[in-house]
C-alpha cells in the first residue's frame, strides 16, 4: 500500500497556488509603485509650478506698485507672512538693501533675468537656517533689483507623504500576498491531501470510494469528476469481470461435476468396451461444452477490446443477411419452424463483416432455439428514407419479460426458458459487444407473441 505523505508547512512554497499568489503579489506591488511614483512625480511638478506662478504674479504686482510704495509693499508682504514662506529683498541701484528679509542676493539669481530658479540651498537669511526654495530676481526700471523667493517645504512635505503612503502600501501588499498565498496553497494542499487519502483507499482495493468534491465546480471538482467517472467505469468492469468469473465458476462447475460423475460411474460399473466407449464419448461432449464456453468468453473479450475497429471495411448488409438466412433456414426447417426472409437492398455500412455475420447468426440461432416447433422466425432488412439500414429478427417464442430484458445482455444471463436448452448464455452478450463495437443500436421489444430483436446499422 502506498504511504500517505502528510503535507508539511515547508511544502507550502512549492505549491502552485503559493507561487501564483506570489507572482500576482509581485505584479500588484509593481503596479502600486508605478502608480504612486507617477503621482509623486506629477504632484511635485504641479506644486512647483503653482509656486512659480505665485512668484511671477507677485513680481508683476510689485512692478505695478508706485515706486514710493515699493518698500512698504515688500515690508507688508514679509510681515503678513506669519509662517515664513516668503523671502523678499529690494536692492537699490547701487546694491544697497532697501527692504526685505534676505541678507544677500542668492547666487542662483545673480542674473536677475526675471525667471524663476530653483534655490536648492535656500536663500541667505539672517535669522534662520536656509531651506530649499524657488526664487526670482528682477531688475527694476530704476536699476534696482527685486528678489522674491518661496520656500518649497510644502512640496517636500507632500512628496514625503506620498512616499510614506507608498511604503505602507508596499508593506501591506507584500503581507497580503504572502497571507493570500499561504491560505490558498493551504486550501490546495488540503484538497490534494483529501484526494491522496481517497486514492490510497482506492488503490488498497476499495473501488467504491470516490475522490471528494466540493460541488463548487472549480478545477479540482472537474478533475475529480473525470477521475470519478473513470473509477465508476473501472468499478463496473471489475464487477462485470467478477460476475462473469462467478458465473464461469457456476456454469463450469455443473458440466465439470457431470463429467466427473460420469467418469466415476463408468469406472465403477465396469462393463464392456461399448459401455466404456459410450461413457467416454459423453465425457468428450461435456468437455467440448466447457471449452465452447471458454471460447465464447475469450471471443467477447476480444470484441470488447475494440482493436478490431482497425479492420473495418465497407459491408453490404443485404449480402450479410442473405448469407445468414441461407445458413440458418435449414436449421429452422429441421426444427419445424417456418422461416421467412425479407431482404431489401440498402446502403453500405462500415464494419467487420465477420463479426456482424456472427452477431446476426447468434440472433437467428437464439430465435430458432427458443421458438417451439410450429412457430415462425423471420429476418427482415429494411431501410427507411434518410434512415440507417435496420435488421430485424422476430420469433414466436416465449418472448422476454421486462426484467429479463434488463439482464439479458449481461454475460451468462439466460431466460427462465433457457435452462433446458443447450448453450452457454453468451450469444446475446456477444451480439451486444459487436453492436457496441460498431456504434450501432440494438433494441429488444415484445413481439406479442415472441420477441423482436432489432439492430440499427448506424
Amino acid at each position: 500500500m502506498p504511504r500517505i505523505e502528510r503535507f508539511r508547512l515547508a511544502d507550502l512554497p512549492r505549491t502552485t497556488a503559493f507561487r501564483m499568489t506570489l507572482l500576482f503579489g509581485v505584479l500588484m506591488i509593481t503596479a502600486v509603485v508605478l502608480v504612486l511614483g507617477i503621482v509623486y512625480w506629477r504632484t511635485g511638478v504641479f506644486l512647483t509650478r503653482r509656486l512659480d506662478d505665485t512668484l511671477m504674479r507677485e513680481t508683476e504686482e510689485f512692478l505695478h506698485t508706485s515706486p514710493l510704495e515699493q518698500r512698504t509693499h515688500i515690508e507688508n508682504l514679509v510681515d503678513s507672512d506669519s509662517r515664513g514662506y516668503w523671502k523678499a529683498l529690494l536692492l537699490a541701484p547701487d546694491g544697497r538693501m532697501l527692504a526685505g528679509n534676505l541678507d544677500a542676493l542668492p547666487p542662483e539669481l545673480q542674473g536677475a533675468d526675471g525667471r524663476v530658479h530653483s534655490l536648492p540651498h535656500g536663500a541667505p537669511a539672517a535669522l534662520e537656517h536656509p531651506r530649499p526654495a524657488r526664487g526670482i530676481a528682477r531688475r527694476l526700471a530704476d536699476g534696482g533689483v527685486l528678489v522674491l523667493a518661496l520656500r518649497t517645504h510644502e512640496v517636500h512635505e507632500v512628496r514625503e507623504l506620498i512616499l510614506r503612503a507608498m511604503a505602507a502600501g508596499l508593506a501591506g501588499s507584500v503581507g497580503l500576498a504572502l497571507a493570500g498565498g499561504l491560505v490558498l496553497s493551504f486550501g490546495t494542499l488540503r484538497r490534494i491531501e483529501a484526494i491522496h487519502r481517497a486514492s490510497a483507499t482506492i488503490m488498497a482495493g476499495d473501488l467504491s470510494q470516490r475522490l471528494p468534491t466540493r460541488g463548487s465546480g472549480d478545477d479540482f471538482d472537474k478533475l475529480a469528476a473525470i477521475v470519478n467517472a473513470m473509477l465508476a467505469k473501472i468499478e463496473g468492469l471489475i464487477t462485470d469481470v467478477k460476475a462473469a468469473g462467478d458465473n464461469i465458476a457456476h456454469d463450469l462447475r455443473t458440466p465439470l461435476t457431470r463429467l466427473r460423475t460420469r467418469l466415476e460411474g463408468a469406472l465403477r460399473r465396469g462393463g464392456d468396451v461399448e459401455a466404456h466407449r459410450a461413457a467416454m464419448e459423453d465425457a468428450i461432449a461435456d468437455t467440448d461444452q466447457i471449452l465452447a464456453t471458454f471460447r465464447a468468453l475469450l471471443r467477447i473479450a476480444e470484441v470488447e477490446d475494440g482493436r478490431r475497429r482497425a479492420g473495418f471495411a465497407p459491408v453490404e448488409p443485404a449480402a450479410l443477411a442473405s448469407a445468414a438466412s441461407e445458413l440458418y433456414e435449414p436449421l429452422a426447417a429441421a426444427r419445424d419452424l417456418s422461416f421467412t426472409a425479407d431482404i431489401q437492398p440498402t446502403s453500405v455500412v462500415t464494419g467487420d463483416a465477420d463479426l456482424l455475420f456472427e452477431a446476426l447468426g447468434n440472433l437467428l440461432d437464439n430465435a430458432i432455439k427458443f421458438t417451439p416447433p410450429g412457430g415462425a422466425v423471420s429476418l427482415t432488412l429494411h431501410q427507411g428514407a434518410g434512415q440507417p439500414p435496420e435488421i430485424m429478427v422476430r420469433d414466436t417464442g416465449p418472448g422476454i419479460s421486462a426484467e429479463q430484458r434488463q439482464a439479458m445482455f449481461r454475460r451468462f444471463t439466460r431466460g427462465d426458458h433457457a435452462r433446458h436448452t443447450p448453450g452457454n448464455g453468451l450469444g446475446l452478450s456477444l451480439v451486444a459487444a459487436v453492436v457496441q463495437l460498431h456504434g450501432f443500436q440494438l433494441d429488444v421489444s415484445e413481439g406479442r407473441p415472441g420477441c423482436v430483436m432489432r439492430i440499427t446499422l448506424g
Binding site: 471460447r295 445458413l327 447468426g361
Partner: protein
Amino acid sequence: MIEDEQRTAREIVDALKAEGYGVDVCHDGPTGLAAARDGTYDAITLDRLLPGLDGLSLLADLRRGGVTTPVLVVSALDGVDDKVRGLRAGGDDYLTKPFALAELVARVMALARRRGDKPDGTLLQVGPLAMDLVGRRATRGTRVLDLTPREFRLLEYFVRNAEQALTRSMLYQAVWEYSFDPGTNVIDVHIGRLRRKVDLDAEDPMIRTVRGGGWRLHAPD
C-alpha cells in the same frame, strides 16, 4: 510433428499412425527446424510455442529455405490476429488448442493430399457421382441432382476431397464466406439436406458419417 507437450504428441502420433502415416516427433524448435529441412514429409504440424525457437520464426525460416511442405500451425492462441499471423508466416492451415484429434487428423490428411492428387479440370467424378463445374450440373448415375448453389459448393468440396474425413469446421471454412464458428447443428442440417439429395433410400450411401465428427464422401464399391 513439432510439439513440445509429450502426452499430446503421443496421442497425435497414435491417431496419425492409425490412419497409416509414419510420424517423426521433435520436441523443440531447433531440432524441429533441422528435421523439417532435411526430411521429406507430406505435412508438418507445428506448435506455436516451442522451447528454443518460436514456432512462427521456425516457419518463416523454413519457407525462406525454400521448403514448401504443407504446415498446420497448432496454437493455444485463437484471436483473429493470431490466425492471420500464423497463416501469413507461411502456414497452410491453423488449428486452435484444444482440438478434437479427429479434426487434427482430418486437416493433416487434407494437407498431405493437397500436394498429391489434386483433381483438376471442370469435370469431377467420384464413383457414380459426376459434377460439371461449368454447367453447374451434378448427377448421380443418370439422376440429375437438384442442388442450391451452396449445396453445389458443398458437394464440390466433398468430391475434391473424396474418401477423406471432413469435419464441420473444415466444411464451413471451405464453403461459407464469413469466418465464424456456427456451432454444430447448423452445418449438420445442411449436410443432412445434401445427403437426402445425393443418397436416395434405395441407393448405397455415399456421404457417410465418420466416427468422432465429420463426414466422408465414399464411392460405393
